[in-house]
């Protein structure tokens, strides 16, 4: 009797401790709040830049989706554009043939459809080494591109034209300056970011990190490795699909370029610039990448890809860790300052 009581109180204490640790991990830091305040401020302070900001928000969401795969589960992908493109075409078709007219609902439907595709293809990446995964994901993207190229309904190389978007929620119409589009994209990005944050700070997210570190040991402590991989692959696919759908809805056009190999390569670059594994990497990377691309395209309109390539080469040669570690002193400083004014439970590791 007393033994049972003891063990149950001990269990309860353990549970309390674990959930306290999880809650501490999940608490919003001041830097994060500042980041999102800056994003909100950009809506009002940079009204002339809304078109490019929309692109950044979409790229950021796309990179966030890859971050869930690469940064948390350690799955490398060279064909993430497959899901982006699938979502883009899904949203385009829904709007063009008036299946689902309301953008938000169409966004959800496209996302869920892409999740299904992600679920089906996730079984392809369970087996094999990093190299096999790279090629399988690349192959899936190529197959989809070929399908989009051949089908009549997708318009082939001409792209999906004649998409007319209804107002968001039936009230806010898309305008040519991109104001509505930007606010819409930003809201979607923020909501999905909050969900992603919730996912990676949950026990599920922690188990992903453990199996990224060592799948064999993770399975030894009772984590169903393949199940987790399928789950996160499906979720990440949905994120990428919604990013693609957003692109179609805000530009009212979808072309084969959404499935291009370059898009998969670009999103990898974005994530590497920003740093993988802390969710903000994709967003920061998207801002830097777009600014860089804009600047390079102004310098050499036709040949900016050369400089993007050069940056990739340099990043690898110098070392990824050293590139992204430039934020470390800042983060450490903020961490110390926060601990002083806003004490929080210490995280383990």
């Amino acid at each position: 009797m007393t033994v049972a009581d003891d063990s149950s109180t001990a269990t309860r204490a353990l549970v309390a401790e674990a959930s306290a640790a999880l809650a501490a991990r999940a608490r919003w830091g001041p830097l994060e709040i500042a980041f999102w305040l800056a994003a909100i401020a950009s809506v009002f302070l940079l009204p002339t830049k809304h078109l490019i900001l929309t692109e950044i928000a979409i790229l950021g969401l796309f990179a966030l989706s890859l971050d869930l795969l690469l940064g948390y589960a350690g799955i490398v992908s060279l064909g993430h554009a497959a899901f982006f493109g699938f979502g883009a075409y899904a949203a385009g078709l829904l709007a063009k043939y008036h299946v689902v007219d309301e953008p938000v609902l169409a966004l959800l439907v496209s996302g869920i459809a892409t999740m299904l595709l992600g679920f089906v293809t996730s079984f392809l990446v369970l087996r094999g080494s990093d190299l096999t995964r790279l090629m399988v994901t690349l192959g899936v993207a190529l197959v989809l591109r070929e399908i989009a190229n051949r089908l009549d309904i997708t318009g082939g190389a001409d792209g999906l034209q004649g998409i007319v978007m209804e107002p968001i929620l039936g009230r806010f119409a898309f305008d040519i300056f991109g104001h509505a589009a930007y606010v819409y994209s930003l809201v979607v990005l923020f909501l999905l970011f909050v969900v992603a944050r919730r996912i990676v700070n949950s026990p599920f997210g922690l188990s992903l990190r453990s199996l990224k570190g060592n799948p064999l040991r993770a399975s030894a402590i009772g984590i169903h490795v393949n199940g987790r991989l399928v789950a996160i692959y499906t979720i990440a696919a949905g994120y990428a699909g919604i990013a693609g759908a957003l692109l179609t809805q805000t530009t009212q056009f979808a072309s084969l370029s959404v499935l291009d190999f370059e898009r998969s390569a670009d999103v990898l670059l974005i994530l590497i610039i920003g740093g993988a594994g802390y969710l903000y990497g994709g967003l920061i990377g998207a801002v830097l990448f777009k600014l860089m691309q804009d600047w390079l395209a102004n310098l050499t309109p036709q040949y900016w890809q050369f400089w993007i390539g050069l940056i990739l080469v340099i990043i690898v040669l110098v070392g990824r860790d050293r590139i992204t570690s430039w934020t470390d002193p800042i983060r450490a400083f903020v961490q110390r300052a926060t601990d002083r004014v806003w004490p929080r439970a210490r995280e383990g590791g």
Binding site: V76, L131, V140, R150, Q302, Q305, L312, L317
Partner: protein, 286 residues
């Protein structure tokens, strides 16, 4: 029917010559070199410049293309690639994609974005009739050159001292070093030869594959298919895979043009799932 088969074989042989360098770097040196097609493109453009602008005879330009590309490969290996051998596949992929982007933009800048054609000498044009089967002379040349190369490669890997050094260096670089094998030099030579072969393949294939700045990206997947389907543990695997791919692609485009490249991509995925080490591998996972 037989003409298609013949064309397919020529196409497959061409793919093999380009891709075997990739099979060596990927399978033996564990380097994911997505920039391999860039070397083939370099070979193609070197031939175009030599033949069309400088008036070098076509046949003489082929060994020159090999040498030039091998030299480029050797320089890049010593200066850049040597730093990425020990890195993860992801970083190698990023690095080589960077190289691809750079090469595409650089060639676009220097040569323009239009498609290039090599001026073939008269004796290589047209067809000859063998028992009612039309055989392109140029394709006959390709098959002859590539067949010879394949035999030479197989011999070099299996029966020469260099071949055994290479295999030793790959199996265990540290022990090989301990035995007095200069592993770095072996890798450098192998990489240079692989690039050179790609260059030669690009030179020969400029006419059949089409040559423009996006060449490395367009054919990347073909080379990868050859390597993944064929496995990387031998030369014969990629060889058979190239032939199958060449014939399947030519026949597929001829008989069912609506499907396009769809079939071969699907085949690649299925093979990867079914046998991640390649169809013809000896089954020793590394």
């Amino acid at each position: 029917m037989l003409t298609i088969l013949f064309d397919g074989i020529a196409y497959g042989m061409l793919l093999f010559v380009v891709a075997c360098g990739l099979a060596v770097t990927l399978g033996l040196m564990n380097l994911v070199n997505l920039a391999h097609g860039a070397f083939a493109m370099a070979g193609g453009y070197i031939t175009v410049v030599l033949v069309n602008r400088l008036g070098v005879p076509f046949l003489a330009s082929l060994p020159l293309a090999f040498l030039f590309t091998a030299a480029i490969g050797a320089v890049l290996e010593r200066t850049l690639y040597v730093h990425v051998y020990a890195k993860s596949p992801l970083e190698q992929v990023l690095f080589t994609i960077g190289l691809v982007f750079m090469s595409v933009a650089a060639v676009d800048y220097v040569m323009g974005s239009q498609q290039q054609f090599v001026r073939l000498p008269g004796y290589l044009q047209g067809q000859i009739n063998v028992m009612g089967v039309g055989i392109g002379r140029y394709r006959l040349l390709i098959i002859a050159v590539c067949g010879l190369l394949t035999v030479a490669l197989q011999f070099a890997l299996a029966n020469t001292r260099f071949g055994s050094r290479l295999r030793a260096a790959v199996d265990d670089a540290r022990v090989a070093r301990g035995l007095g094998i200069n592993v770095n030099a072996v890798f450098a030579v192998t990489f240079a030869v692989g690039s050179g072969l790609a260059g030669l393949g690009g030179a020969l294939g400029a006419e059949i594959l089409g040559l423009d700045p996006t060449f490395p990206l367009k054919f990347l997947i073909y080379f990868l298919i050859v390597v993944t389907v064929g496995g990387t543990s031998s030369i014969t695997g990629p060889f058979v895979a190239s032939l199958l791919l060449g014939i399947a692609d030519v026949a597929g485009k001829y008989y069912v043009p609506t499907l396009g490249s769809f079939v071969i991509y699907t085949v690649m995925i299925v093979v990867l799932i079914w046998r991640p080490q390649g169809l013809f591998s000896r089954g020793t996972a590394r």
